[in-house]
């Protein structure tokens, strides 16, 4: 029991911290609400997000390495990424994508490359956090507890 309580507190604190640090925003909380009706909804969405993002990041890297960079292509990839990250609630990734798009419009190659690094960085950070979160959830469930609902 204590462990469950501790885990749950850890879980809540962790999420709150993520929220305060801007890694996640309200959208994520909205997603969590769906867990009531469809369990594992968040897990599925987040997994899909990871898969999608890896693909997009690889595409971006490839596109930016070409001799003649097609900025429209880059822009459309970034747009996709922005869409997915905002749907999931990965706020910092979304913001990084916004900045990235500006550089795309300016056709600033250096800026784009820098942004890509930044986006990747943010993405891996948030991925890390989300994986930790999911692990925590698993632990709680394994310990027999229920995942606390956030308001």
């Amino acid at each position: 029991m204590e462990i469950i309580g501790k885990l749950q507190k850890q879980f809540i604190d962790f999420i709150k911290a993520l929220y305060h640090e801007g890694f996640l925003d309200d959208q994520f909380l909205q997603l969590k609400l769906q867990d009531e009706s469809s369990p594992d909804f968040v897990f599925e969405v987040v997994t899909l997000f990871f898969e999608d993002s890896e693909k997009i990041i690889n595409n971006l890297a490839a596109t930016l390495q070409q001799q003649v960079v097609d900025f429209k292509q880059v822009d459309s990839h970034v747009h996709q990424f922005k869409g997915s990250s905002s749907s999931v609630g990965a706020q910092r990734v979304t913001n990084a994508c916004i900045a990235f798009r500006n550089f795309c419009e300016q056709k600033n190659l250096e800026g784009c490359v820098q942004c890509l690094q930044h986006v990747k960085h943010e993405y891996f950070l948030v991925k890390n956090k989300l994986e930790t979160l999911l692990r925590l959830e698993q632990q709680i469930l394994a310990a027999g507890g229920t995942i606390p609902v956030l308001s």
Partner: protein, 754 residues
């Protein structure tokens, strides 16, 4: 003796036969007889030949009216001839028969002669009159000839005029017109020289502008007030002038003597008085002078028809010049317009660029500025709650106050920009008006009591309790106005009164165009805030509502404001279809701020005007959306899944598609709602909406189309409205939002969100 006797008998017979008076004294000689014989013969010959000649010539001539006279005459002559011929036989002894023949011939001759003589009495007058008639006809013919000459000349003149006119009018270029005129006139009239004097800009002189023979006329000028010029200008006829007048002195060298010179005026029509009825008796006073010179060595004179030609040409030139002037004017105006258009276009584009730059800046700054501010304020307030030493606490409080101020400043600036941009829209809710005033009072009371000011609030009895309007912004206005009143009063009182504005009190004498008409669904709230503060100089009152301005007197005090408060309040009041103004009697006499705004009364109005939308209270009936078939179109996998999850959570039966074509393939009438992500780049989602409309028409069962977008700008919204979408929702969508959207959709068939 015998010969003498014979001579006597002969002589007497001669006398008898021809009644010739012979001097008996003359010796009857053979010679005489011979001469007589010869003469008689010739006479007879002549007499016989004359009729022959007559007949011959008359036969030759076609017209001879008196043929029978001729016959008579012929007979007369023939008989005379015969007589003389027969005479030939009577010189010698002749028989009685010859005598008889002679006598017969003579008798006949006498008869015919007498008849002829009688006839001639009638005929000769006739013949004479024929002569007269002939003379008359000759004269007539000569006259007709002359007239024909004149007509021909006139017709030629007319032809020349037509040709000249054609030449002149065939071009709209002023110089060509004038040059052509001179050339053609010179040719038609075989002129020595032809010149045109135009008035100068000052109108005091005439300048030689065009000549026929000189290629480059020297800039000769003559004063316009010369008597000869006045004479020519005073009539529209061509006037013959002296070759010595200054206008005729076209050649610089003096030894040239010009021939006859004629001058005519050419009216220069001004565009503004080109009246078809007045022409050419116009009020214009500007004339050009055309001078025409005949060759000096031809001794020609100016004929009337030539003068007429010149006058007609002068008139035509005037018309052609005015046309050319009109054309020049309109070309110039058009060029000017084009220039202006280009300049305007450039200015517009620059303005658009500036606006876009500003908007981009704002969009970035909006987020960028608020985030750090948020962090600062949040963390400093968190810090406040920890254990601090008094100095630390003071420092943290200062940080908090300053950052709050900064946050307000940022908000104000951003608000104002959005207000000016026109993109700010009011959040219309139903709220408690009385409670609002109470809250404002509570906020102000602490500050006022510190300054020892009395604050009173009076609400009129007919003021409704619940109203529909923008609660937040009304509070902002009230706080601003009341706050100003408190700020600028060092002592005394501040009184706030609110009542329903009646029609007479709605009129502000300073804003006569502000008409406020109350109706059943809305009323006008009038709020007056009177203070006993430092007052306002009447000169400064117009500037109060301008941004950033503060009067001198205030600048000295620690006002601590942005100077934007009143400007923002004014904008809000205007958005609420109201009016705000400040009255003050002068410095030190206090001031009153008054504003009137429009508020709706709940429960009576059913329509919600765009773009102000009534947000109904959240606890309206919750419909279950169990089994509601919806279609979600989004090309982003994650986003699609999220939306699907959301809708599934609410109980819908969700189908998802990832592309436009798939959407069109899959959509059926069973789908009640189609959620479309319109932020997909490069794909025209609006087209899908149009196609769905076309496919399902206006039938009641067609699926409702709602756009999901991350863009809040007007363009997206307008595009959605344009293609007939039933709603626009801003991502991210919360569960509650989705729920209310669905219920509104199903209840009203449309959802709009500001």
């Amino acid at each position: 003796m015998g010969s003498l006797l014979r001579m006597n008998r002969l002589l007497s017979s001669i006398v008898d036969s021809c009644n010739c008076i012979i001097d008996p004294q003359l010796p009857a000689d053979d010679l005489l007889m011979k001469y007589q014989y010869i003469s008689d013969f010739f006479i007879a010959l002549a007499y016989f030949s004359i009729p022959v000649e007559l007949i011959y010539f008359v036969k030759k001539s076609a017209v001879f009216p008196y043929r029978w006279v001729l016959v008579q005459f012929g007979a007369f002559i023939v008989l005379c001839g015969a007589t003389h011929l027969i005479n030939l036989w009577t010189f010698n002894m002749h028989t009685r028969n010859v005598a008889i023949v002679m006598t017969t011939a003579k008798v006949l001759t006498a008869l015919v002669s007498c008849i002829t003589a009688l006839m001639l009495v009638h005929i000769i007058p006739d013949l004479l009159s024929v002569k007269t008639r002939e003379l008359f006809l000759k004269k007539k013919a000569a006259q007709l000839d002359r007239e024909m000459g004149i007509i021909r000349t006139q017709e030629e003149t007319g032809r020349h005029v037509r040709m000249l006119t054609h030449e002149i009018r065939s071009t709209l270029d002023r110089h060509t017109i004038l040059k052509t005129t001179l050339v053609e006139l010179g040719r038609t009239l075989a002129l020595e020289e032809c010149a045109l004097w135009m008035p100068t800009r000052t109108g005091v002189e005439l300048q030689l502008s065009y000549t026929l023979r000189h290629q480059n006329p020297v800039g000769l000028t003559v004063p316009i007030q010369l008597p000869v010029i006045n004479q020519v200008f005073s009539t529209n006829r061509a006037v013959q002038i002296s070759p010595n007048s200054p206008v005729a002195k076209l050649r610089p060298t003096g030894k040239y003597m010009p021939g006859e010179v004629v001058a005519v005026r050419v009216p220069l029509l001004h565009l503004s008085n080109f009246q078809i009825n007045d022409w050419p008796e116009l009020s214009t006073k500007r004339y050009a002078l055309m001078v025409l010179m005949l060759p000096s060595d031809s001794a020609r004179q100016w004929h009337v028809h030539e003068l007429e030609l010149v006058e007609v040409v002068a008139d035509q030139v005037a018309v052609a010049l005015s046309h050319a002037a009109i054309l020049e004017e309109s070309m110039r105006a058009r060029d000017l317009l084009m220039e202006q258009n280009v300049a305007l276009d450039l200015a517009r584009r620059e303005a658009e660029m500036a606006v876009r730059a500003r908007n981009d800046f704002l969009a970035v700054m909006n987020h960028e500025m608020r985030t750090p501010m948020h962090a600062i304020i949040a963390l400093s307030s968190l810090l406040q709650e920890t254990d601090l030493t008094p100095e630390q606490r003071l420092m943290v409080e200062t940080i908090l106050k300053s950052s709050n101020l900064l946050a307000t400043l940022i908000n104000d600036v951003l608000d104002l920009s959005r207000l000016e941009d026109g993109s700010l829209q009011l959040d219309i809710v139903t709220f408690n008006l009385h409670a609002l005033f109470g809250e404002v009072l509570n906020l102000i009371k602490p500050i006022a009591s510190v300054k020892k000011l009395f604050v009173t609030l009076s609400l009129s009895a007919d003021l409704p309790e619940y109203v529909i309007g923008d609660e937040q912004r009304l509070m902002q206005i009230l706080i601003n106005v009341v706050g100003n009143a408190v700020k600028f009063s060092k002592e005394g009182s501040v009184s706030i009164s609110a009542f329903v504005a009646k029609s007479d009190s709605l009129r502000d004498p300073r804003a006569p165009e502000f008409f406020a008409v109350a109706s059943e669904n809305h009323f006008y709230l009038r709020v007056q805030v009177k203070d006993t503060g430092i007052g306002i100089n009447p000169q400064d009152i117009p500037n109060l509502f301008s941004k950033f301005t503060q009067s001198q007197a205030l600048a000295s005090t620690n006002s601590g404001g942005t100077g934007l408060g009143l400007a923002i309040s004014k904008r809000f009041v205007n958005l609420m279809e109201g009016h705000i103004w400040i009255e003050s009697e002068g410095l030190g006499k206090g001031s009153t701020a008054i504003f009137i705004i429009k508020l709706d009364i709940p429960g009576r109005s059913n329509e919600s005007k765009l773009p102000f939308v009534a947000k109904l209270p959240a606890n309206h009936m919750q419909m279950t959306f169990q089994g509601l078939k919806v279609l979600v179109m989004d090309d982003n996998g994650v986003s699609r899944m999220v939306t699907k999850g959301l809708l599934t959570h609410l109980g819908c039966d969700v189908t998802t598609v990832g592309s436009r074509d798939e959407c069109l393939r899959v959509v059926t009438q069973e789908h009640k709602v189609v959620f479309m992500d319109v932020s997909m780049p490069g794909i025209d989602c609006y087209e899908v909406a149009v196609l769905i409309h076309e496919r399902f028409g206006k039938r009641h069962g067609r699926p409702l189309i709602v756009a999901l977008t991350g863009n809040t700008d007007r363009v997206t919204k307008e595009n959605c409205m344009r293609v007939g979408m039933d709603g626009v929702i801003l991502k991210p969508v919360s569960v509650d939002k989705m729920r209310s959207v669905l219920s509104e959709l199903l209840e009203h068939g449309v959802v709009l969100e500001s």
